[in-house]
Symmetry: C2
Subunit: 340 residues, 2 copies
DNA sequence: TGTGTCTACTAGAGCGCTCTAGTCTTACAA
DNA sequence: TTGTAAGACTAGAGCGCTCTAGTAGACACA
């Protein structure tokens, strides 16, 4: 086999020769730093274009003191992670950083995903919905800025950026109580990131509403679990809850879907509030009342946290936590109870 | 600010010193190539572990002739792309390659996404659902192996890996015809990758069924467009189609959702077939009859196509096309018509 | 004893950039 | 005229690896 990398293989040297300048000057031009006259700059760019040259980012990052890259792990297929990625690209770019993505799948656990990023010598790590043990994270955090997004972790030098999950559920329950619901169930998230806090928020809201009855339905991250919960729900409907606060939108959607198929009406027979505000929630035919997590602010806070640590390197500071306030988005999946 | 990269900064040199061997030997051990005795190997590994050393992949890729990386672009948030990524990780790994991901979002078009990968000196590119013009792709394909996944492109040295979209729609329509439907609408995909072929398949199937009436509903990629199509559909229901073949599952799901909200029953009043077989389609409460695209086989074919070109480099061969046969998955969203 | 073959290891020249410490002009002030 | 300062440019030593060419030593064989 021929050497796949040998094909053409145009380097700065070639561009320099063609433009009749030194390699260093080409570097200056491509980095966009001052030190080249306008005419030479154009000549270099022209030569590069003719050769279809583009700088080698491996070499560039190696030669540079700073790599100017941020490593990001995310769950492949998780739609809210996708929303975050989108905003992360924007905010990292604004801060002059590139993103290096590392996907987590069933066959590619978090540890190798993170290792890849460390080997890439990213300057900081942003782990979305990471479930690694705190001790593990602390070890990594000791070496470079690390922020856990969507999951609260108590570990040295590990910053956390998350939505105020408890407040989110207080909003959801408060909304339902305001509509007159007296029996509100929680479609639970189990061990998923944020689930503990949401449970806590649910309970505190019930207490605050005068000690309403608590009902936990086992739920989960996807429509599947929501739909499963609907099964048990429709049975005991007569004496059951009149409203449900779900762990997330997907779960809520699955629940609604199945509950409707069993003849119940939403919101007439049962009101449902989601969590996340994924794009589907806003579709007119869905119109899910939900608690919005602000992907853009979360992403901004994550990038900012990394930048802050980068600037105070060497002076280990206590972990910070950016807790973004969620927002209730009222749409059509909730109404006063008992409108039979 | 301190130099963020200066922190510890452990190199092979440090490991070599600690283990009492040369730098080259450490390299040998970490690459896992023969040339080190078992005892030294262990000593080196131990030294590395003590220092928490891990090889710098930038430097490694630069020094090596081959980078052993495959660049992948994908649309952030597209769930079928996520399924493909998952399988791509597996197949690339099996071929001894690493993946470099580059996400496409609203603010990050395909061109910069691809440029990043080229700058990274990937050995080959896998573009998922890429919409760049053929001429642009041909220019890139002339320099390195390039495969377009999910989208048919006729361009020199650009391989294509896709599902047989036309056959998929023939399966869908055939299934509906078999159930007795005489008037089948296509919920169209417009300019989305694969949409043209599916339209073609739809038409040829109608012809083959004896020239059934053609009805095109404007659709799209998401639930939103499916739901919108449902609006017009329910109006003319009396004389309208009894079945719908949708561009994809999400679109089908949106359609079903909205059509149900308008009082129609699926499949009793209208049968619906999707396309893709995303994970939600299989959920029991959804049970969508659909045409499955095999993400794993698509991913395998994509990696294989790149490998094939890598092996015959220098001898430009004609573009190949791997057309993966789709499979009809019959679930509960279809039934014979007129069961009112 | 010499020759050859193995295995275990090392020296050192790359890989394609960056960036510091220069050199060489030219301009302008004193 | 000299001094000096700014601007445009270059030489060359890294960055942390890889990998070829080579050395040293052990062992076998004639």
């Amino acid at each position: 086999m021929l050497d796949p990398m040998a094909t053409d293989r145009i380097t700065m040297e070639d561009v320099a020769a063609r433009a009749g300048v030194s390699r260093a000057l080409v570097s200056i031009v491509f980095r966009g730093v001052p030190g080249a006259s306008e005419t030479t700059r154009e000549r270099v760019l022209a030569a590069a274009a003719e050769l279809d040259y583009r700088p080698d980012s491996r070499a560039s990052r190696l030669g540079r003191r700073r790599t100017r890259t941020l490593g990001v792990t995310f769950a492949v297929g998780a739609s809210f992670h996708g929303d975050l990625l989108q905003s992360l690209y924007t905010h990292a770019d604004a801060a002059g950083y590139e993103l290096v993505l590392s996907g987590v799948t069933a066959d590619r656990p978090e540890v190798p995903a993170v290792e890849t990023l460390l080997a890439e010598r990213c300057e900081g790590l942003i782990l979305i919905g990471c479930t690694l043990p705190a001790s593990h994270l602390a070890r990594i955090g000791a070496r470079l800025p690390l922020v856990s997004v969507l999951r609260a972790v108590r570990a040295d030098s590990v910053d956390v950026v998350r939505t105020d999950d408890a407040a989110g559920l207080r909003l959801a329950v408060g909304h339902l109580v305001g509509l007159g619901h007296q029996h509100i169930a929680l479609l639970d998230g189990g061990r998923a990131p944020g689930a503990t806090e949401r449970r806590r928020g649910y309970r505190s809201a019930l207490r605050q509403a005068g000690g309403l009855r608590e009902t936990l339905l086992p739920g989960g991250l996807t429509e599947l679990e929501g739909a499963a919960a609907a099964l048990g729900f429709t049975d005991r409907q007569s004496a059951g809850p009149t409203a449900v606060a779900a762990f997330n939108d997907r779960c809520a959607l699955g629940f609604i879907d199945n509950v409707r198929q069993h003849g119940l009406r939403v919101p007439a027979d049962v009101s449902v509030v989601g969590f996340d505000d994924i794009s589907q929630a806003a579709y007119p035919h869905v119109a899910l009342t939900t608690v919005r997590q602000d992907a853009d602010r979360l992403a901004a806070a994550a990038v900012k946290a990394v930048m802050a640590r980068l600037e105070t390197l060497g002076k280990p500071s206590p972990p910070t936590a950016s807790v973004i306030e969620p927002e209730l988005v009222v749409r059509s999946s909730t109404s006063p109870p008992g409108r039979n």
